[in-house]
Point group: C5
Chain length 163, copies 5
């Protein structure tokens, strides 16, 4: 039985962890989920490390950087920390960050958070169970949330998941 | 008996550590506080590390980055260092930074420092004693100091603490 | 038998790993290739580390940073992680990044991805088998993809590979 | 007998190490000074590490970043390195950086370098011998060089040292 | 017999390593030189680490960051990596970076590369054999390549080497 960790924040304005959890349930079996909530994105790296100490095989780290320049710096620091944790434990952290200013309004923001969390949950699942599925999509211009861009050769457009 | 470390600076223009200490006293028991003061925010990471060496279970790191571009860079370096310490000791540092230009005047700055230190003190307390309380607020758009933003689903507005 | 790792992404819009693989086959023998695909560039460092754990002697890390400011930050974080992995394992990672805005259109972007991947594949091959070939070109203003700039002394112009 | 290390550069336009050394002599006893000079600020981290290897208990790192954008980046890299050294040896480095563009002319620049080095020398001395003195000034808005800003509560203005 | 490592790139448009090597020969004896060439500046850190593994006592790392914003980021990442290597091996890397846009034309660029490499070669030599010579020039406003700026006290102008 594999363990998938989900780390999230009270700062984020949408419960992306719930979307990820729901999508994982639709995607497959053979794993159980452990969760950990922290105040903000800069707390996610040590939270992820703690989840790995609790035997997580992969961690999905959900966060929502704010609109201000200081928030952009925080996102950079958080990502750098998530990188450091991955190299320390030699396991993947799938970063699910939705910047608050990526969406026009709260409705679109909710939709984007939900979709990105779901599509990255599938990525996390495949990394654990079917890494060859990622290999089949190399260079295909996939995106999580908004529509896939597709390859420069004109093929591969479309979304990873559809509901 | 848990140990909560508080690191702060002589550069800051408000004694945020005192606010944190006062709020911790109102919040619960089962811990004692150890403190450490340094000149500026870039000295906080090693100060925090020293507090962990003195057996702190969590550290609250209080600082006030100035208004100049060079101060913003210092804040980024300080945060990166605080990240590194957390990953080294595998424990949380709650960063309580108030940028001097977040407030319009000294009165608001005092208020913001006091409130943010208090709300983050509760976060530090919960991380140690009641981590599930953070889980209950995942995705709720909480803020420390200024009013909570709330979730994109329209729920969850309001402040963590009220006096 | 040496092992050359190729790490790439589903985010990229061109299969640079295939170009690298093809060029390696034209360049020489004495190696076998192992591949690993991840969602985005920030996942490449731990992917590269995993390839080294699977005994790679050098890794070619292919990625395509997008056009937005947040993508540029991601590229910086990814490169910093790739640096960290190299210093950890004491082996080279040849970074093959093509920024989406380096080309005018999809046709040029395809061409650039293909060329840069091929020229860097030769670099990776030479690092493993003929490091002295790199020494012969020191200070020659070589570029991967676009035309070589040449040395300030007026010599050394021309491309490493021609098809 | 404690050991205070002073690291400085040939790039700087003022001998801040001499000011620090002089001020330490006026401040107290119980220590001896060891010095190390490098070309530029990016050489200060390893210089500081070497001073710690020679048993320094604290290091004062003096440097003067230039006016150009590239110099600002160098300062950031140098500070990041100084951070890393501190976390490695678990001891303080007091960074005495004066940016060349902080002063209007050479006379003011000399004055600023001298004052900042002296005030930070006192900080280094207190960290080693009287850490409680720093605690007495927490949140007081102290500055090194230019006049103290004071706390937002209206108290605490004035300079740490006066000649 | 000391060992001086020289790492350089095929991206640079001038063979700075040759200038450094020539100047070292004019400066003194008691060392031998080992060299290592890589494609670009981001490959210099692991190259330097490999030179230290081959027993180098100091490394001179020569590179020429390009004019584009992405090149400036690469330079920052490269310098950060060089910093990390120094702290790992506890030895100096003298970074000889000439930004392509520091000079007006190829003639000046050649001159600047040659001069900076030569002056830094002397620095590397002195760090190994006569560290006190650097101490004599602390705070003197020395520059490598362009003319020394001199100290704010009006003394110390002039170049380290003259031909």
């Amino acid at each position: 039985m594999k363990i998938i960790g989900i780390a999230d924040t009270t700062f984020a304005r949408y419960d992306m962890g719930r979307s990820a959890e729901d999508e994982l349930g639709r995607t497959g079996t053979g794993f159980r989920i452990i969760k950990y909530t922290v105040p903000g994105i800069k707390d996610l790296p040590v939270a992820s490390l703690i989840l790995f100490k609790r035997n997580a095989d992969v961690v999905i780290a959900c966060g929502m950087p704010g609109k201000k320049p200081v928030d952009k710096i925080s996102a950079q620091i958080a990502s750098t920390g998530l990188m450091e944790v991955q190299l320390k434990v030699e396991k993947h952290i799938i970063e699910v960050f939705v910047h608050e200013d990526e969406a026009e309004n709260d409705t679109e923001l909710s939709w984007l958070c939900d979709m990105r969390a779901r599509e990255h949950a599938v990525n996390a699942y495949n990394i654990l169970f079917f890494p060859e599925k990622l290999g089949e999509n190399r260079g295909k211009g996939l995106r999580q949330g908004f529509e896939d861009v597709g390859s420069t050769m004109g093929d591969g457009k479309g979304s990873t998941i559809r509901h």
